[in-house]
């Protein structure tokens, strides 16, 4: 769910290319973006079996630079960016004082005193404002590069074969959650081995004025490998199978990282205070009242965002609602309907039988471990 916006949506820098490819275009988080080209299922399967090319130019890129850049981010975020080696990245979150999640992020250390924070498009402004406020007093400056940066991702088992020949970088040497700067298709690009699909792949940050050339080169080079362009629709089903949270669905300002199963990301052991620390320490002490779970439907029906989760009667409580679905779809890879949901911790054990209320009717669902899909080793 994106914030309501009354302003004119921004066109992706690749919008004309998407239209030529026959994409269906939607407004998403204030941007005009492709939701699908050939079809969500076909695009989804291409990423799992070969490769897919994504336009992620709507994402926010915030560069923090200066002698205190690491310290400033450590005070602003729940992770410990100064512990990152140059060329490494970490999944992170920015929380409010009450421990609620304002956004989930990836923090890349580009140089000793330079970091790049990548935020969701719908939250880029909020994150930028909060970082600016939290950096006061630190010797570091924030440069919001969101509009100056184009971002494309290539994801899937063939990614390395497609991208490798286009660059002098030894991309095989970039580890998962690593980033390196190099020349791709004749232009300077930051190449990160990150993604949101559950597959191997790369995210490429380029100058917005040249990202079109980069897209064209990758699209052409990938075609013989079975790569197709992939829209936001399949991006959602891919991340859901991979058990990855989406801000606005699994994560929001009323949810803390521990409820979302992301407690391992929060570095309470790091030195110094950070926004949300006191509240998050209380959560660790007192425990959580609800927990993110994976569900597989055991009867016919697809659980969708907002549908109630029901538990059978127990010694402590009568049968009734115990939570709600955050994301659900028919899994193209598994062929069963899957969902993520919040429920009571007592309901969270794999094998627990619950139900999802679909149009007034309870439909059986079993708690399963996340992720639903793991790529073959």
């Amino acid at each position: 769910m994106t914030e309501a916006t009354t302003t004119t949506p921004l066109p992706s820098p690749l919008l004309d290319r998407h239209e030529r490819l026959g994409a269906k275009i939607v407004e998403f988080a204030g941007w005009l973006m492709p939701i699908q080209y050939a079809g969500i299922l076909e695009e989804h399967r291409a990423v799992r079996s070969a490769a897919g090319l994504f336009d992620l130019s709507h994402m926010g890129e915030l560069v923090v630079e200066g002698p205190d850049a690491g310290a400033a981010l450590a005070a602003a975020l729940v992770t410990d960016p100064p512990a990152l080696a140059v060329g490494r990245a970490q999944y992170s979150m920015i929380c409010a004082d009450d421990g609620g999640i304002m956004d989930d992020l990836i923090v890349y250390r580009l140089a000793e005193d330079r970091f790049m924070v990548v935020a969701n498009a719908s939250n880029a402004r909020v994150v930028s404002d909060a970082l600016a406020e939290r950096m006061e007093g630190f010797q570091a400056v924030l440069d919001d590069r969101s509009l100056a940066t184009g971002l494309v991702a290539i994801q899937g088992p063939r990614s390395i074969d497609i991208l490798g020949p286009l660059t002098s970088l030894d991309i095989g040497a970039i580890r998962y959650y690593g980033i390196a700067e190099g020349v791709v298709a004749g232009m300077p690009v930051q190449v990160a081995r990150t993604g949101y699909t559950g597959e191997d792949g790369f995210e490429l940050f380029a100058d917005v004025d040249r990202v079109g050339e980069l897209w064209d080169t990758l699209l052409e080079a990938g075609r013989p490998h079975g790569q197709v362009p992939v829209g936001l629709g399949a991006r959602d089903t891919l991340r859901l199978e991979a058990g990855m949270p989406l801000y606005g669905n699994e994560l929001d300002a009323s949810t803390n990282p521990f409820e979302a199963g992301l407690g391992r990301v929060v570095k309470l052991s790091k030195p110094g205070d950070f926004v949300g620390r006191a509240a998050l320490e209380r959560v660790v002490r007192d425990g959580v009242g609800r927990q993110l779970i994976g569900l597989e439907m055991r009867d016919r029906g697809i659980a969708r965002h907002g549908y109630p989760v029901l538990a059978p009667a127990s010694a402590d409580a009568p049968a009734g609602p115990v939570g709600s679905v955050t994301s659900g779809t028919m899994s193209p890879t598994l062929g069963t309907a899957i969902a993520m949901a919040y429920a009571r911790p007592v309901d969270a054990g794999p094998g627990t039988m619950l139900a999802v209320e679909i149009r007034g009717v309870p439909v059986a669902a079993e708690v399963v471990p996340l992720p639903f899909y793991k790529r073959p080793a």
């Binding site: 699908q36 079809g39 076909e42 629709g233 016919r300 697809i302 028919m330």
Partner: protein, 126 residues
């Protein structure tokens, strides 16, 4: 182009009359707009449908859409093949992707539906 022997609703359902019964489905345009259909929920045989009331749902990967009965009548058959192959609705919406067969309560209702030309105008107007 839509088959000219069918009648249509503004909500993109079609009806094919066969004697005192009618077969109901959704149009190619509707199927294309929905995208990949992954689930179809249909009423049981014996259920009595009211004209223009919802009688089931069709779900694409992204969205849930109601199905509206173009005519009133008792359901005398449902397309069970859609349980395992909902993609038939995308592939052959006017053929193997049909949804229900009803015994018409009032054959005159069919005359009130759009003909092919009328339906094509609605689609063209978006």
């Amino acid at each position: 182009m839509v088959p000219d022997d069918l009648r249509f609703t503004k909500e993109h359902e079609w009806v094919r009359v066969e004697g005192d019964e009618a077969i109901v489905g959704i149009t190619q345009y509707a199927a294309d707009q929905l995208g990949d259909i992954v689930f179809v929920e249909l009423p049981a045989v014996g259920k009595v449908l009211e004209q223009y009331a919802t009688f089931g749902v069709v779900e694409s990967v992204k969205a849930v859409s109601d199905l509206f009965a173009p005519v009133a009548g008792e359901v005398v058959g449902v397309n069970d093949a859609l349980a395992d192959k909902p993609e038939l609705v995308n592939g052959e919406p006017f053929g193997d992707g049909w949804m229900v067969r009803v015994r018409l309560a009032d054959a005159a209702q069919v005359e009130g539906l759009l003909d092919a030309a009328g339906y094509e105008r609605i689609v063209a107007e978006g």
